[in-house]
């Protein structure tokens, strides 16, 4: 559907072969594993938050959109592997979601920028100036009718153009490789790289839900209620968008586009080779604690103790400190004001969610830097963290 029509007409392979591009593709492949690309994406996220008054200007935003669209879809013309991934019917929603997130973030931050400039100048918000009430009939009812017609048309066209996939009948004996959950859960499946299922599949999702429900009670900042702004609630917006955009949406993109057979990572232009072997180095925190000499080249070297709790003492102490000592520490230092506003109970519920969320990037970083597999490794109790 997206192949190059000119080359097809000439009876040639639809993919433009540009040897000059091989180097670029290789470069992208080499730098796309999460240990390189995620820090870069986080950096980009921070820059975008800091410069929101600049990049939301229509000219710049439009340029960014055009560049994104050209690169994102253009690459389909020059690489078969990438083309195969993107054109899959079930992956089309991911593309729509990415474009949707981008466009809506732009409208949000554009309006935030406008409001913030006014707030700084002590002027009323854009909406306050032109706020008059209108009757639901006809203003709203007609808007709804138009949306209804448009949405129906889009849905029907989508359904006619893109057939729903149906694979071979279920075969309980033959799992496909890779076996993937539905795409909206792939952020969780991607977390399985860093955590065991009880964490990635149960604790974290439950805490996402409880955290979301409790969020209005954590955020007692009365400002920014009912209008777009960034200036008046930078902390809330940064944390929430980091969770949603990076820890959810970006992980889904990795899971859908870049995880191939055996959940190995493949760059966007790489062939999904089912035979690729990735050497696994599993180092536990207890190994570092009892035997740094072998691993780091200095310090002591003891045999692992027999008693599992003594063996894992470093991980247990570390986790306990992360969950139970870090929040009070925050309450006494950087989050002092917040703790006073929220009251002790609310603050600790909030801080508990926050440190558990922060555990994911922490574990990622330690995995990449130290190949750390688990803080706590207690197979005796199925308890690995």
């Amino acid at each position: 559907m997206f192949s190059n029509p000119f080359l097809l007409a000439a009876g040639r392979d639809p993919f433009v072969e540009l040897p000059q591009l091989e180097g670029v593709k290789q470069f992208v492949n080499n730098w796309s594993p999460p240990e390189f690309s995620l820090p870069f994406i986080v950096l980009l996220f921070i820059v975008l938050l800091l410069t929101y008054k600049k990049w939301t200007k229509p000219v710049i935003a439009l340029t960014l959109l055009v560049v994104f669209v050209v690169v994102y879809f253009g690459a389909m013309l020059v690489d078969y592997n990438y083309y195969e991934i993107l054109k899959k019917a079930d992956n089309v929603p991911i593309t729509i979601m990415l474009l949707g997130c981008g466009i809506f973030l732009w409208t949000a931050f554009r309006q935030a920028a406008r409001n913030d400039v006014r707030l700084e100048a002590g002027k009323p918000l854009v909406d306050e100036e032109r706020d008059d009430k209108v009757l639901v009939w006809p203003d709203l009812v007609y808007t709804e009718l138009i949306c209804l017609v448009l949405a129906s048309a889009v849905l029907v066209i989508w359904a006619v153009v893109l057939p729903a996939p149906l694979e071979s009948p279920a075969n309980p004996a033959g799992p496909p490789n890779p076996s993937k959950a539905p795409w909206y859960f792939l952020g969780l499946q991607e977390m399985l790289v860093y955590f065991d299922p009880w964490m990635a599949g149960v604790i974290l999702p439950v805490m996402i839900i409880t955290g979301l429900i409790a969020m209005p009670y954590f955020d007692t900042n009365p400002k920014g209620n009912g209008y777009y702004t960034f200036r008046e609630r930078p902390f809330a917006i940064s944390v929430w968008l980091f969770g949603f955009l990076i820890l959810w949406v970006v992980l889904i993109v990795f899971g859908v586009f870049l995880r191939g057979p055996n959940w190995n990572f493949f760059g966007p232009f790489a062939y999904w080779d089912a035979n690729m072997q990735v050497p696994l180095t599993n180092v536990m925190m207890s190994d570092y604690f009892w035997n740094p000499k072998d691993l780091l080249g200095f310090g002591w070297s003891y045999a692992l103790p027999k008693n599992p709790f003594i063996r894992e003492i470093s991980g247990i102490v570390f986790t306990a400190a992360w969950v139970f000592i870090l929040p009070p520490l925050l309450a006494r230092t950087v989050m002092r004001k917040m703790c006073m506003q929220l009251g002790t109970f609310r603050f600790y519920v909030m801080a508990f969610h926050l440190v558990i969320m922060a555990m994911l990037p922490l574990k990622m970083a330690l995995r990449w830097l130290l190949t750390l597999k688990y803080f706590i490794y207690l197979p005796e109790y199925n308890l690995n963290l």
């Binding site: 009430k133 209005p216 308890l383």
Partner: protein, 260 residues
């Protein structure tokens, strides 16, 4: 001619028994049009102009609701053709394209489901970025989060029904997580804590969290039936009720938010 005919219809007893107001042309009749209609009156009578601007709401809540309705209608039509037993399920899905007039029912239902997931996420993002979860709307945000979970569960349970390779293995990956539930899952931490008495564990492969979901140790015929019932009846009904509460609360909380 036409006007006379329309005027006549409007003057009949049948018409005026259904619509209790005149043509919505002036303020009074327009207010009446919204107030006297059970569907329209989920809306308030008047709204803030800035609240219904497209660039404010992105229309994403409305789109989510539209997709919910589209899924309900196409889903009911699909139920005419689909039997949730493993002998027939796959063939019934194949038949949808071949034998059913306008064979895009399944496409509408599937792409509509994907679209609903996207629109609900974007709706949540818009509500967050406008700070619309702040008082007095904390509760409605909570209702929304439950709706989010229900929507994802609806999609998840529907994923199994075509009974193809994609379906059973995606659900296998998902429900394997259930096995890892702490205490209540066979492979989760502390699965041996609960016991009827010494040596007789409460949590076994036949009684753990994954078994509750699948009605078996693997994704099989009983799981298909269970997912079907959840997908077609239990979840949509609960979601429908919560959507009604959600809309009612928007109104009661002072309409779509705006600067106060």
């Amino acid at each position: 001619m036409l006007t006379t005919a329309l005027n006549y219809i409007r003057s009949t007893q049948v018409w005026s028994s259904i619509f209790r107001h005149g043509i919505p042309r002036d303020r009074r009749t327009r207010v009446m049009a919204v107030m006297s209609n059970v569907f329209l009156h989920l809306h308030p009578v008047a709204v803030r102009k800035s609240g219904i601007r497209l660039s404010f709401t992105w229309c994403m809540g409305g789109l989510t609701f539209f997709l919910f309705l589209a899924e309900t209608i196409s889903g009911i039509l699909l139920m005419f053709y689909y039997r949730p037993v493993i002998e027939y399920a796959y063939a019934d899905i194949q038949g949808l394209r071949a034998h059913v007039t306008l064979g895009v029912l399944r496409e509408i239902h599937r792409w509509g489901a994907h679209a609903m997931i996207i629109s609900i996420w974007l709706h949540m993002m818009r509500v967050f970025l406008t700070g619309s979860y702040k008082p007095p709307r904390e509760f409605n945000w909570g209702v929304g989060v439950i709706l989010l979970v229900l929507t994802m569960l609806l999609s998840f349970t529907g994923y199994l029904l075509p009974w193809d390779q994609l379906a059973i293995w995606a659900i296998t990956v998902g429900s394997n997580m259930g096995k890892a539930t702490p205490v209540f899952g066979m492979q989760g931490p502390f699965s041996d804590v609960l016991a009827f008495r010494e040596g007789v564990p409460m949590v076994t492969t036949k009684s753990d969290a994954a078994f509750l979901l699948l009605a078996g140790t693997k994704v099989g015929a009983p799981a298909l039936m269970r997912f079907y019932v959840l997908h077609c009846i239990a979840l949509p009904v609960v979601a429908g009720v919560l959507i009604a509460i959600h809309f009612w609360r928007i109104r009661k909380d002072g309409g779509i938010s705006g600067p106060m």
